[in-house]
């Protein structure tokens, strides 16, 4: 894992001291709310429905056991005993007191964490594939470049007041688990015909009110040019992005208005001034950062592990959990353990302090001290010996963390919705809980197969509904909660935006509507098709027909 150097430590400590002073001045009345609001937002502190909310950065979703234990400590000491993992691989606490926040930030700084740039119109936490460094199909570990981007973008003076927030995601495998096509900039690590490694640069993706799939503006960018090219993109956006209208301020609107080709020309023109300047990324610097992400000391093991196979054979529940939650690792004899935060009837992405501590203990004992947070709101132990997987499962079970549903219908992305969020129009969590209960039966879930439901409580789309195979969007209709359903969205390498199926459903009708959609798929599907495959083959008509005939 990356470890702070003296610059990082100083910067984070100074920020804690600055914010401590700012909070004190606010409470004394020396700062008005208008003056204080942008300051608190720069430190991840929002005001939600019931209380303040603190969003803490988890850079590219990687946490050590010590950091996870600190999050548990904060949950217990300053909050209500739990935290919420988000689609940006961050964690949010929903109940901190303003006067406690400087102490929380000081505690975070002691474990090399902070809340800087988790809000505001700046470059936000850079996200990455949760299987970084361990995926069998990976070209290079995306965290190396995510960390380099983090260093370049943190407190970048030119990009601290962008027209709007700016999100960057990096993936290193052909299979995109980081949803890079729905980010302001997506970087997909590629190998060119000469065998060199660089980046496909995608720009202008995003969800929200105007969902757009990013367009490729450069098929191959050499590594040395990463930062100068990003700087060129940000400069063009910073100059031409619409500051006059909030809803038109994201880079996707600029790219759409001038066209990707023209946008690429502008970036290339800007880049000409920058490409051989101070931002050239020296190979030795890449290697220095790479060393932080060097593979841990794996043992040399056989691909076949009889003890693990025996446990799977003897214990059906364990075998079922392995089927969904254990992913192949690039190192023989190891596996990637996915810990679902989607217990049936639970709030997706929530973890209690005790659960965080258990995951920290398991990571320390079995996964070289490392945990990952996924944008689908689950956790990962990335380096587990297959012979340890059964012990981990047994430890997770009593803690409610062994739900065998990864990638299945009950593994939903869900925003906090109207139960917590100041922007929401409708509740999201109870919809997810009801859908979870409806599809609780595991055989039924297996029969349905891969199906990604994503739920947002408003058009800001924190729950990624546009890219759900089934997307659910909460809307307000004359003070009542209604839910609009979209079909056929997808966040992976073959990204697509879902299509609205028809008029919205009332709160009590949504689960029935989802069931009807699933039944329609089961009737229509051909051998081995996933929901998305069937939808793409037959289109929206059969779904629409059954959904609205039945109502």
């Amino acid at each position: 894992m990356y470890q702070y150097d003296e610059y990082d430590h100083t910067l984070v400590r100074e920020r804690v001291a600055q914010f401590r002073g700012q909070v004190a001045r606010r409470l004394k009345g020396e700062l008005t709310e208008d003056e204080f609001r942008p300051i608190r937002l720069m430190n991840g502190l929002y005001l939600q429905l019931h209380a303040y909310m603190l969003r803490i950065a988890v850079p590219y979703g990687t946490l050590s056991s010590t950091q996870m234990r600190m999050l548990a400590h904060i949950a217990r000491k300053y909050d209500k005993g739990y935290g919420h993992f988000t689609t940006r691989q961050n964690i949010q606490f929903n109940w901190p007191k303003l006067e406690d926040v400087p102490d929380i930030l000081a505690d975070l700084a002691s474990v090399e964490m902070h809340a800087i740039q988790t809000s505001g119109n700046c470059i936000r936490n850079v996200t990455a594939d949760q299987y970084a460094g361990v995926a069998a199909d990976e070209i290079e570990d995306p965290r190396i470049y995510a960390e380099i981007i983090r260093q370049w973008s943190t407190l970048h003076p030119e990009f601290s007041f962008l027209p709007r927030k700016f999100k960057v995601a990096v993936t290193g495998s052909d299979h995109d688990r980081a949803a890079v096509r729905v980010h302001d900039i997506g970087l997909h690590i590629r190998r060119n015909t000469k065998g060199e490694v660089g980046f496909e640069v995608l720009v202008g993706g995003g969800l929200g009110r105007t969902p757009v799939i990013a367009e490729t503006i450069r098929k191959f960018l050499p590594k040395r040019d990463l930062l100068s090219y990003l700087e060129a993109i940000l400069r063009v956006y910073n100059q031409l992005g619409r500051r006059d209208k909030l809803l038109k301020a994201r880079i996707k609107i600029l790219v759409q208005s001038v066209g990707a080709e023209r946008f690429a020309e502008m970036v290339e023109a800007e880049w000409e001034h920058l490409r051989d300047g101070a931002l050239v990324l020296p190979a030795e610097e890449v290697e220095r950062i790479r060393a932080f992400f060097a593979p841990p000391a794996y043992e040399t093991l056989d691909v076949n592990q009889p003890a693990f196979e025996a446990a799977r054979f003897e214990d059906r529940a364990f075998a079922e959990w392995c089927r969904t939650n254990l992913a192949p690792h690039k190192t023989p004899g190891y596996g990637i353990v996915n810990i679902s935060l989607k217990g049936i009837g639970e709030a997706p992405g929530d973890a209690t302090a005790e659960q965080m501590e258990l995951v920290a203990d398991l990571a320390e004992r079995y996964s070289f001290d490392e945990v990952r947070v996924t944008h689908e709101q689950n956790l990962v132990l990335p380096h587990v010996k297959l012979t340890d997987v059964h012990a981990i499962w047994q430890a997770l079970k009593p803690a409610g963390l062994a739900t065998p549903n990864l990638g299945l219908v009950t593994d939903m992305i869900t925003c906090p919705g109207l139960d917590f969020c100041n922007l929401a129009n409708a509740r999201s969590i109870p919809i997810a809980q009801r859908i979870g209960k409806c599809f609780e039966n595991l055989d039924r879930q297996y029969n349905i197969g891969e199906l990604k439901i994503k739920i947002s409580g408003c058009i800001n789309a924190c729950g990624h509904h546009h890219v759900g195979h089934i997307g659910i969007l909460g809307v307000d209709k004359k003070g009542e909660e209604f839910y609009q359903i979209t079909l056929g969205g997808n966040a992976e390498e073959d990204s697509s935006i879902g299509q609205i199926v028809g008029p919205a459903f009332a709160y009590d009708e949504v689960v029935g509507a989802v069931e009807t959609l699933v039944e329609t798929y089961l009737l229509e599907r051909r051998n081995g098709e996933r929901f998305l495959d069937t939808y793409r083959r037959v289109g929206i008509a059969p779904f629409k027909e059954r959904l609205y005939d039945a109502h």
């Binding site: 606010r26 409470l27 009345g29 008005t32 709310e33 005001l47 939600q48 429905l49 019931h50 209380a51 303040y52 209500k80 109940w95 901190p96 007191k97 303003l98 006067e99 709030a347 109207l418 139960d419 917590f420 929401a424 409708a426 509740r427 969590i429 109870p430 809980q433 003070g479 009542e480 909660e481």
Partner: protein, 104 residues
């Protein structure tokens, strides 16, 4: 016209509060001063805004309520959730407070 009360969040800890007839801030909706006319509502809001300047509260605004069997009930789902707590977690928010039953 629709009844209205003034609500805000307390600066220090973010708690949801309601403006009382004594121009203080209560944690419970049933203690809120109720405006029956637009003129009364504007007057209450002015007191609320003064409290914002005096850094007691933030995000001050008027919300609509109705009287149901002698109790005040917010008209919007959002305000009902603010007045009680998350619908998914009865152990959080005002509904988890010992005083909740007494005031509801």
């Amino acid at each position: 016209m629709t009844l209205q009360v003034v609500t805000a969040n307390r600066l220090r800890d973010g708690d949801v509060v309601y403006l009382t007839a004594e121009h203080g801030w209560a944690l419970w909706l049933d203690e809120a001063a109720v405006a029956e006319t637009e003129v009364e509502a504007e007057a209450l809001l002015k007191f609320g805004e003064a409290a914002e300047k005096a850094r007691e509260v933030i995000r001050v605004y008027l919300m609509k309520v109705e009287r149901m069997e002698g109790k005040l009930d917010p008209l919007s789902a959002r305000e009902r959730i603010r007045a009680k707590g998350p619908t998914t977690r009865r152990d959080l928010g005002k509904q988890a407070d010992n005083g909740f039953k007494e005031h509801n």
